[in-house]
């Protein structure tokens, strides 16, 4: 499912595709689904996308883009400004530093690492929200979001893989 990095320089509108895909997932998360309890259990889709692009195209999702996309998610969701911006940058930083090691392995290994990243991400959102609201929040909601994110990760990898194919096709 996962292939090695494409190392050639990126030109054209391709540079915007990864950021646009993250923006699309941010908007997808904001839509009113009108299903009870689903708003407590929406997966961290932009985080999964940052993780994916951090492995395959880190140069197309620079820290500045991740920061502004995270900030946009904070604004649209009504959460504290800077929370998602900070956490998404940290995810990108971790993945970029470890990226090559992931690429040498199979998808299953990457998924296992994502399992841990997603759990830590969920715990971090819970901790920041608890500090921000000055009251311990219900931790299982955040962990539930993490688990759902882990569950939908293969679908996200498949979807973003289509975007990546577009990048390759345009390069040809």
């Amino acid at each position: 499912m996962m292939k090695g990095p494409e190392s050639k320089s990126e030109r054209g509108f391709r540079w915007a595709l990864p950021s646009l895909s993250i923006l699309g997932l941010i908007i997808l998360m904001q839509l009113p689904y009108r299903i009870s309890f689903l708003d407590n259990l929406l997966p961290f889709l932009p985080m999964a996308a940052v993780y994916y692009w951090g492995i395959f195209k880190p140069n197309l999702v620079p820290v500045s883009a991740v920061f502004f996309l995270g900030l946009l998610q904070d604004v649209l969701s009504g959460g504290p400004l800077g929370m998602m911006a900070l956490l998404l940058i940290l995810v990108r930083l971790f993945v970029v530093q470890q990226g090559r090691r992931f690429l040498e392995r199979e998808f299953l290994f990457s998924w296992m690492v994502f399992f841990v990243v997603s759990l830590i991400f969920g715990l971090a959102t819970w901790a920041i929200a608890s500090i921000y609201l000055r009251e311990p929040q219900y931790i299982w909601d955040a962990l539930g979001q993490s688990m759902l994110t882990i569950a939908v990760f293969p679908v996200i990898v498949w979807g973003l893989g289509l975007f990546r194919l577009m990048l390759v096709a345009e390069k040809r």
Binding site: M29, Q30, L31, L81
Partner: protein
């Protein structure tokens, strides 16, 4: 060199995000204004993107209505008969109520619906409960206004852009709404705790409350007019009293933004001689 630049860039944005996180809790007017402008820009996009969901929701609703149309008709016929009887009683009570209010010079609350709005976005977090609506200051929506739907209270406006506004839901941990027990009129506070069922606060010691009791707005706080349906007591435990809200906050489609102010009829007072003297003295 490139590595150094990357590290500096990461460090800079991490510090910036932290600074925003720490300073953002103050929610200054500048921050709110910027938030408002960004949401104004994205609301049309969200509005278009949510149309397919709306269509699916409408289809499910229509299918459900068709499935229960016969039993629903029977129920409505029975309810209609009861309501006709209740209307006669309530009109008599309304006349009595008006007469007594005039006698006591009770300030009348003036309620006006400022705008109807569509919910275009839902917060994606279990820790922050709010929705975005497609009406803003251009439509007369202001910060602090009450938001309701056909079932009961929804929340209040916490940030208004020119064409969009953010509604803090009654279930959010920062939401505190003055309410009363319909049967006894005991005043309390409805406190959100980010769960679907907010809790009751400040129940006076010794007062009795039971599951199923009806909760209405008290009108204190001047945000919500009195006697709007809030919900019913769901459960009473040692941890607190939970309320099931009348409005389904997970299934909001259209809401109304409401203005409320007290208007007292002017009281004619005889002009006192003392007042005349003092005013003359000042001249």
């Amino acid at each position: 060199m490139k590595e150094l630049k990357h590290r500096f860039s990461s460090g800079f944005f991490i510090v910036l995000a932290l600074a925003l996180l720490i300073s953002g809790s103050s929610n200054t007017s500048l921050v709110n204004a910027v938030r408002g402008q960004i949401t104004d820009f994205f609301v049309p996009i969200l509005s278009v993107a949510s149309r397919p969901l709306q269509a699916v929701d409408d289809l499910i609703g229509w299918t459900q209505q068709v499935a229960i149309v016969f039993s629903e008709n029977q129920r409505l016929l029975a309810e209609n008969a009861q309501l006709k009887q209740a209307r006669i009683t309530s009109s008599q009570l309304a006349i009595d109520n008006q007469r007594l209010k005039r006698l006591l010079n009770v300030g009348e609350g003036q309620v006006n619906i400022i705008a109807a709005a569509r919910v275009v976005s839902d917060s994606d977090s279990p820790f922050f409960k709010s929705v975005l609506i497609n009406r803003g200051t251009d439509d007369g929506v202001l910060k602090g206004r009450a938001v309701i739907n056909e079932d009961g209270i929804v929340g209040r406006i916490i940030n208004a852009g020119s064409s969009s506004s953010r509604v803090l839901l009654a279930t959010d941990i920062n939401s505190h709404i003055p309410i009363k027990l319909a049967s006894s009129g005991i005043n309390m506070i409805l406190e959100g705790d980010n769960s679907p069922y907010p809790k009751l606060g400040f129940l006076p010691i010794g007062e009795e409350i039971s599951v199923g009791d009806l909760i209405l707005t008290s009108g204190y706080g001047m945000v919500f007019p009195p006697d709007l349906p809030v919900g019913q007591v769901l459960e009473i435990t040692e941890e607190g009293i939970k309320i099931k809200l009348s409005a389904k906050l997970y299934n909001l489609n259209y809401v109304s933004i409401m203005g409320y102010e007290i208007i007292r009829s002017p009281v004619s007072r005889p002009v006192s001689r003392m007042g005349d003297r003092s005013s003359k003295g000042r001249e």
